[in-house]
């Protein structure tokens, strides 16, 4: 097993294509997990809920708000 991994390491070192591909994979995952998941989403894009109960309340509110609005629309017409 160890021998196989050393062999992979050696071959990757020899191949410029493999190095470029590994670099792309590394940059991508750093971007996706580091920047997006670790920073951008939690800082700017995370919907603001205090806890799960609050979240479910908000969802129910959205379902029912819109429904109350459609009832009102109906009555108006």
């Amino acid at each position: 097993m160890k021998e196989f991994f050393l062999y992979i390491y050696k071959k990757v070192k020899e191949s410029s294509l493999a190095k470029i591909l590994l670099l792309i994979i590394f940059l991508k995952f750093a971007m996706f997990y580091g920047f997006l998941k670790g920073y951008l989403y939690p800082t700017f894009l995370k919907p603001k809920y205090e806890n799960e109960d609050h979240r479910s309340e908000e969802v129910i509110k959205k379902l029912l708000d819109n429904h109350n609005k459609t009832l009102k629309d109906d009555r108006e017409h």
């Binding site: 196989f4 062999y7 992979i8 071959k11 990757v12 191949s15 294509l17 493999a18 470029i20 591909l21 590994l22 792309i24 994979i25 991508k28 995952f29 971007m31 996706f32 997990y33 997006l36 998941k37 951008l40 989403y41 700017f44 894009l45 995370k46 919907p47 603001k48 799960e52 979240r55 479910s56 908000e58 969802v59 129910i60 959205k62 379902l63 029912l64 708000d65 819109n66 429904h67 109350n68 609005k69 459609t70 009832l71 629309d73």
Partner: protein
């Protein structure tokens, strides 16, 4: 109007998801389909001992590797988006989505990454049989990892196996097997995977045709064409069969989508399938203008396709919106009324819960359950909303997909025939057709996604949750900004893929040895 819905947010959230899915899909078919071609070539090598088949397998594995390395992880953004842009949807559907996606993560991680390493670096290094097994496991693993997300997508189109919990406002899975083996989901899985096989067959054929036109790597190109064309032909026949299955299930579960796909405004008994046609752009729901400026149809075919009965009634958009008593079709207005009763009962349940009134809760829950299946209609504000708005887009996309599917069968048949007769090299025109069929196969599959997803509107979960209330409570500007950020990032990746792939194709297979060593 519904003032409490931010349509800028809804539209940009939809646009962003579609854009990322589009980029993500550019990598998927080749990752899924080429693995089978590699595994078959390697099997032939192991059986015959002919080193040229191994060289062939290694060359396609190299191109597969480039595509895999650049594409892997692009789906992560989609996963993240469920939580940020589609928080309400993720919450309401969470229990159903969570299980399949978690399973996908584990499956993809163990099967794909482990065996891909063996497939790439094991040539001549590990035992031939173990290496071959790894090739096949990579192929099955790649297809299986797509299973779960397609099951989740199938569930959104045809929700089964769950109950709605009014305490948490979530759909909770009660029957995992009903979700997994829903005929809609299974058919979607087979149709999508088979489309990947056809696209990959054309990927191999297109590059091999280019080699033949350039008079390079002749033996490898000819063998690749025989293999890919035979594999592609079988796949494209099965693709048409599963496409027929898709149309059947759409007819049963999403009649509005079917009517839109066919531009069918008024339902008919023994309805024909429009082969080609131009929709009347001025036609509106409920008016009596002509629906087509021109059309050519196969008589009764739509009834057969949708209901397996030449005289079956296929409801049109007007029947679904305004109802049709003769054929027992409920109007959208009536469904909206029932939906409002369901949501009203949910409100009463919450009120009773706040007031600590168990009897009130029980009564409200009973009423809610009775009308639950219409829940989503309670949020619509006009009956016409049940019809997807982009009728021409869906109609023409469906035609492009089906006509391409038929064309592919003919083209692949020709490729097989002429390859077997060893006359393929001289058929320059066919080699060019082979090259052009590759982008066309991608276009056909994108059209398939448009039919499936734009055709599902106005729902995220068919009949239960409209798209307009599935979004998050974030600002539209944040979604617009991230739209451009992702578009830039993904465009860079596609350019990288294109350049590296073209470089590897130009370099060709000639430097790949038939002895051991990886193929990078």
């Amino acid at each position: 109007m519904i003032e409490n819905i931010d349509f800028t947010l809804v539209n940009w959230s939809r646009g962003q998801f579609a854009m990322i899915a589009f980029y993500h899909w550019l990598f998927i078919p080749i990752t899924i389909g080429t693995t089978y071609i590699i595994a078959i070539a390697q099997t032939i090598h192991v059986k015959t001992g002919d080193p040229e088949w191994e060289r062939l397998a290694r060359f396609w594995a190299k191109l597969f590797g480039i595509n895999f390395a650049i594409g892997v992880g692009t789906g992560i953004i989609l996963g993240l988006e469920f939580g940020t842009n589609w928080a309400n949807y993720s919450w309401i559907a969470g229990d159903i989505f969570g299980a399949p996606l978690a399973a996908e993560g584990i499956m993809a991680f163990f099967l794909e990454s482990t065996f891909i390493a063996v497939m790439f670096f094991g040539w001549g290094k590990v035992g031939k049989k173990f290496h071959l097994l790894s090739c096949w496991l990579v192929a099955f693993g790649a297809s299986l990892s797509a299973l779960w997300i397609l099951v989740a997508n199938g569930w959104m189109n045809y929700p089964v196996g769950m109950v709605f919990n009014p305490d948490t406002a979530r759909h909770e899975m009660v029957d995992f097997w009903a979700v997994l083996f829903s005929p809609y989901a299974m058919n979607k899985f087979l149709h999508t995977i088979t489309s990947c096989l056809v696209i990959s067959a054309f990927f191999v054929i297109a590059i091999s045709s280019w080699y033949l036109l350039k008079k390079r790597s002749i033996l490898l190109a000819k063998r690749s064409i025989v293999l890919a064309a035979t594999f592609g032909l079988l796949s494209s026949v099965y693709l048409a069969m599963t496409g027929d299955g898709s149309a059947y299930y759409v007819a049963q579960k999403q009649p509005a989508k079917l009517a839109t796909m066919e531009g069918l405004f008024d339902g008919e008994e023994g309805a024909g399938l429009v082969m080609m046609g131009i929709l009347n752009p001025n036609k509106k729901l409920g008016d009596d203008k002509k629906d087509f400026l021109f059309k050519m149809e196969i008589p009764k075919m739509l009834s057969i396709l949708g209901y397996r009965d030449a005289n079956a009634f296929v409801p049109g958009m007007n029947d679904l919106v305004y109802g049709n008593e003769e054929f027992g079709i409920m109007s959208a207005e009536e469904k909206m009324e029932k939906g409002r009763i369901a949501l009203g009962a949910l409100a009463d349940y919450k009120e009773a819960q706040k007031n600590n009134d168990p009897q009130g809760m029980e009564e409200a829950e009973l009423l809610f359950n009775e009308y639950y299946q219409y829940m989503g209609y309670g949020n619509l504000h006009s009956p016409e909303m049940i019809i997807p708005r982009k009728i021409p887009l869906i109609f023409y996309s469906f035609r492009i997909m089906v006509i391409s599917g038929m064309l592919f069968i003919g083209v692949l048949l020709l490729f097989v025939y002429l390859s077997v007769k060893n006359r393929i090299e001289n058929q320059k025109w066919l080699l060019y057709v082979g090259i052009w069929c590759f982008p066309l196969s991608f276009i056909a599959s994108m059209c398939g996604w448009i039919v499936a997803e734009v055709g599902r509107q106005p729902w995220t979960i068919q009949g239960l949750l409209p798209t307009m209330i599935s979004t998050s409570n974030i600002s539209a500007n944040a979604v617009i900004a991230t739209f451009w950020l992702f578009a830039t990032m993904l465009t860079v990746l596609v350019i990288a893929e294109y350049r590296i792939m073209i470089g590897a194709i130009r370099k060709g297979p000639d430097n790949l040895s038939t002895k051991g060593g990886p193929n990078v």
